[in-house]
C-alpha cells in the first residue's frame, strides 16, 4: 500500500468499505462493463449539469483509474454496481434525489458510501462551490475577500 493510499484510507474514512476497486479489477477478466456502469452511476449521482457531460466523463476516467481505490472491495461489488446503475436511464445526470426506500440494504449502503466518497473529493467540492481548479494559481489575490455571489 502506498503512503497516499494509506492517507486517503485514514482521512476519508468512507473509503474503508466502498466495494469498488475489486469490481474494477475484475472487469477485464469477466469481460463485463462494470466500469461503464460505475461511470454511469458517478455521472448520475455527481453534480455536473446537462451541458457538462464531457467534463463529467473526463472526471470519471480519472476516478476509475485512481489506483488508490484498488484492494478495498468485495466480490459482490459487480452486481451492486450494475443493479444500481440500471435504476437510472442512460444519460442521467445530476440526480436531485435518491429514493433509498426502493433500494436493497446493500444497494443503499453502497450508494451512500459512493456519494460520501464522491463529494469528499476536492475536485467535486470545488466544482460545486464554483472555485477554480485546485492547484491553479489565480493571481487574483482578493477573490477570497469578496462576498459570495
Amino acid at each position: 500500500m502506498s503512503r497516499s493510499e494509506w492517507k486517503r484510507r485514514e482521512f476519508v474514512k468512507v473509503l474503508l468499505s466502498l466495494p469498488l476497486g475489486y469490481a474494477v479489477g475484475c472487469t477485464q477478466e469477466s469481460g463485463t462493463t462494470v466500469q461503464d456502469s460505475l461511470g454511469k452511476l458517478v455521472i448520475a449521482l455527481g453534480p455536473w449539469s446537462d451541458g457538462e457531460r464531457e467534463q463529467a466523463e473526463e472526471f470519471v476516467g480519472r476516478f476509475l483509474a485512481a489506483e488508490h481505490l484498488v484492494g478495498l472491495y468485495i466480490p459482490e461489488s459487480n452486481g451492486l454496481i450494475r443493479s444500481l446503475a440500471n435504476r437510472f436511464p442512460d444519460g442521467t445526470m445530476s440526480v436531485g434525489q435518491l429514493d433509498l426506500a426502493t433500494l436493497s440494504a446493500e444497494e443503499r449502503a453502497f450508494a451512500l458510501q459512493l456519494v460520501e466518497q464522491l463529494y469528499s473529493l476536492i475536485e467535486v467540492r470545488f466544482y460545486i462551490a464554483n472555485e477554480p481548479r485546485w492547484g491553479v494559481c489565480l493571481g487574483e489575490r482578493t477573490r477570497y475577500t469578496r462576498a459570495p455571489a
Binding site: S2, R3, S4, W6, K7, R8, E10, F11, V12, K13, V14, L45, P47, F59, R62, F63, A65, A66, E67, H68, S94, V95, G96, Q97, L98, D99, L100, A101, A111, L112, V115, E116, Q117, L118, Y119, S120, L121, I122, E123, V124, R125, F126, I128, A129, N130, E131, W134, G135, V136, C137, L138, G139, R141, T142, R143, Y144, T145, R146, A147, P148
Partner: protein, 529 residues
C-alpha cells in the same frame, strides 16, 4: 569499501533547523557536511506530485508517497487507551524536512508558556526565558518572511514588526468568524504565516493556488527553496541526500564524538563522517532515536521522556449560508484560549475557522445531513457544501509521552525503530472537549440555527512531536543544555522540536528556526557577545 569524509561541522538532518543552521555556518568558511536520509526534491518533482494528486483525485498526495522504508523510517506506537500515534501521513524525509509540506503557520510561544511548571504546576520550564528567546523569534520571522499584523492582544511583547503586513481577512473571517468572536468578547487577529503578501527576498507573493503543500508559486517558505540555494555550490559545503546516519562514535573517554556512521540508502554502502562538531537535527522522533541508538545523551535518564505533541480537534457544521472562498489557508485565528484559561487546571488551545469546502473531505457530513428518512436529497447535499464550516484548533498537552527503541520492529538497515507511547492526563483529555464546547458557542454566535448538529470534536495526534531531548539546566531535567549541547558530550548538539521542554499551543516551526539561528550564533562564538 567505506567512504570517509572530514568536515568542521556535521549536521544530520536537512529540515528547517539543519538547513538554516548550515546556511548560517556556511558564511564562516568552515567545512560543513549536511546529510539527510531523504532525497532532494526538484521543482519538477513538486510539479509531478501536484499533477499526480490532480490526476488521481487525491489532494493528500505528498512528497514521500512512493518512498520506501529506507527513506522514510517507520515507527511503532503503543496503544494506551486507544491513543495510537501514527506519523505515516505527516512525516517528511528529504531536504526541507516537514517544512516541505507545512502550512506555514508561524505562531509564537507566550512568555508564560516557557514557565508552565513554576507558574502553573505542569509540564516543564524552559531554561531560557522569553526575553532571551524573543529576539531570535523576530530574526526567524525575518529569515523566513512572515506576514502578520500587530493586532494580537494575547501575544507577549514583540521587539519589532513583522517583515510585512498580514493577509487581508477573507470574507468568512471578516464577516462571519470575526464578528462571532467579537460577540463573545474574543478577539480574532491575523494568523502569522510564512506566506508573503509581497515579494520577499526573491520569492513571489502568494498567488492563491490553494495547493499550499506544493506551493506552485514558490511563495510559502520552504527551506529547500530559501536556505538550500544559499549553500548550494559553495566549496565549503557538502550536501548529501540519501544518507542515513546510524550512530555516533565517541573517543575512548566517551566525552567527545569523533565520527558519525552512516549508510547510503540506495545501496547501504557505509560512509564515515569525521567532524569537530556534530549536530542532530532529525526532528522530534528521530533525534532522540539516534541518541538512543548511539547510547548517548542519557546522563540523567531523561532521554525519550516527557515527549509531547499537539492534539488537533475539529468540528464541522452547516453555517446556513455560503461561507465564501478561501485563499488556501486561514487568515484569522485567535489566541484567546491561550490566555483566558485557568492553566492550573486546563490546557490552552489555539483556534481558527474556515470554509470547509476546500480542505476537509466533508462528503460524509454533507450526505448524512441531506438524508431524511428514506431519501437522500442530492440537491440539498450540493447546496450544503459551500455552506459548511470547520473550526479547528491546536491543543497543548502536558507532555507525558515516551519514546523508546522498539526491539521488535527494525528499520530497513536493521536498527530498532522508535516506539511512541502517548500518555494523556485528565487535563489532556478534557481540552479537546472544551474546544468543542467553545466551537459550539462560536457557531451559535454566527447565527447557526442547529449548532447542536455540530459534529462531535474529532481529533488526531502526530504533527508536532517534541520534547524527547529537552534543553534544561541540568541532566536531571533534560538531555541538552541551554545552548543545545548534549549533556556529557563536548561537541554534540541537538536542533529540532525535540529540544522543547514544553510545547505550547502554537505551531513549533518558528521556534525551531529561532533556536537554530541561536545555535548558529553559539557555534560561531557570537552568542555570549
Amino acid at each position: 569499501m567505506t567512504e570517509e569524509i572530514r568536515a568542521d561541522y556535521c549536521i544530520a538532518g536537512a529540515g528547517p533547523a539543519g538547513l538554516v543552521l548550515a546556511a548560517k555556518l556556511a558564511v564562516t568558511g568552515k567545512q560543513i557536511v549536511l546529510l539527510d536520509q531523504g532525497p532532494r526534491y526538484s521543482e519538477a518533482d513538486r510539479a509531478a506530485a501536484l499533477r499526480r494528486g490532480v490526476g488521481t483525485l487525491n489532494d493528500y498526495a505528498d512528497y514521500n508517497d512512493d518512498a520506501s522504508d529506507a527513506t522514510v523510517t517507520p515507527h511503532s506506537s503503543a496503544e494506551p487507551e486507544g491513543q495510537v500515534v501514527d506519523w505515516r501521513a505527516q512525516r517528511q524525509f528529504g531536504v526541507g524536512g516537514t517544512a516541505l509540506h507545512f502550512e506555514g503557520i508561524m505562531g509564537r510561544p507566550r512568555a508564560d508558556d516557557l514557565n508552565v511548571k513554576s507558574l502553573y504546576g505542569y509540564g516543564r520550564d524552559w531554561p531560557i526565558g522569553y526575553g532571551e528567546l524573543e529576539p531570535w523569534l523576530l530574526r526567524a520571522e525575518q529569515e523566513v518572511g512572515v506576514s502578520g499584523n500587530d493586532d494580537n492582544p494575547y501575544v507577549s511583547p514583540r521587539s519589532g514588526q513583522f517583515p510585512m503586513t498580514g493577509h487581508a481577512f477573507s470574507y468568512f473571517d471578516r464577516e462571519v468568524f470575526g464578528p462571532a468572536l467579537t460577540r463573545l468578547g474574543i478577539t480574532g487577529h491575523s494568523c502569522a504565516r510564512a506566506v508573503p503578501t509581497e515579494p520577499y527576498r526573491g520569492r513571489s507573493e502568494c498567488l492563491a493556488c490553494r495547493a499550499c503543500k506544493f506551493c506552485p508559486s514558490g511563495a510559502r517558505y520552504s527551506p529547500d527553496r530559501v536556505h538550500l540555494p544559499l549553500i548550494d555550490g559553495r566549496e565549503n559545503v557538502t550536501i548529501l541526500p540519501g544518507l542515513s546516519i546510524r550512530q555516533f562514535e565517541t573517543d575512548p573517554t566517551g566525552a567527545t564524538v569523533v565520527a558519525a556512521h552512516a549508510v547510503r540508502t540506495a545501496d547501504a554502502t557505509p560512509v564515515v563522517i569525521g567532524a569537530e562538531q556534530f549536530v542532530v537535527a532529525l526532528g522530534g522522533v528521530e533525534t532522540p532515536r539516534l541518541l538512543m541508538l548511539s547510547e548517548l545523551g542519557n546522563m540523567g535518564g531523561q532521554l525519550g521522556r516527557r515527549f509531547s505533541d499537539h492534539v488537533h480537534p475539529y468540528v464541522t457544521f452547516d453555517l446556513g449560508h455560503h461561507a465564501g472562498s478561501r485563499l488556501g489557508f486561514e487568515t484569522m485565528s485567535t489566541d484567546h484560549f491561550r490566555e483566558h484559561v485557568d492553566r492550573r487546571q486546563e490546557n490552552t488551545f489555539w483556534m481558527l475557522g474556515s470554509p470547509a469546502m476546500d480542505w476537509f473531505p466533508i462528503g460524509v457530513e454533507a450526505a448524512r445531513w441531506s438524508t431524511r428518512e428514506d431519501a437522500l436529497s442530492l440537491d440539498a447535499l450540493r447546496e450544503s457544501i459551500p455552506r459548511m464550516v470547520t473550526l479547528s484548533g491546536m491543543v497543548e498537552l502536558e507532555g507525558n509521552g515516551v519514546i523508546e527503541l522498539d526491539p521488535d520492529t527494525l528499520d530497513a538497515f536493521g536498527s530498532p525503530v522508535a516506539k511512541v507511547t502517548m500518555a494523556l492526563s485528565d487535563r489532556d483529555r478534557r481540552a479537546p472537549r472544551r474546544m468543542g464546547d467553545a466551537a459550539k458557542e462560536i457557531a451559535e454566535a454566527m447565527g447557526v440555527e442547529h449548532a447542536s448538529a455540530i459534529t462531535p470534536p474529532e481529533s488526531g495526534l502526530g504533527y508536532h512531536p517534541s520534547g524527547a531531548t529537552a534543553m534544561a539546566d541540568s541532566p536531571d531535567d533534560g538531555v541538552c543544555d541551554r545552548d543545545l549541547k548534549v549533556f556529557g558530550l563536548s561537541n554534540l548538539y541537538a536542533a529540532s522540536s525535540s529540544v522543547f521542554p514544553h510545547l505550547a499551543a502554537n505551531p513549533p516551526t518558528l521556534t525551531i528556526i529561532a533556536l537554530a539561528l541561536r545555535l548558529a550564533a553559539h557555534l560561531e562564538g557570537r552568542l555570549a557577545a
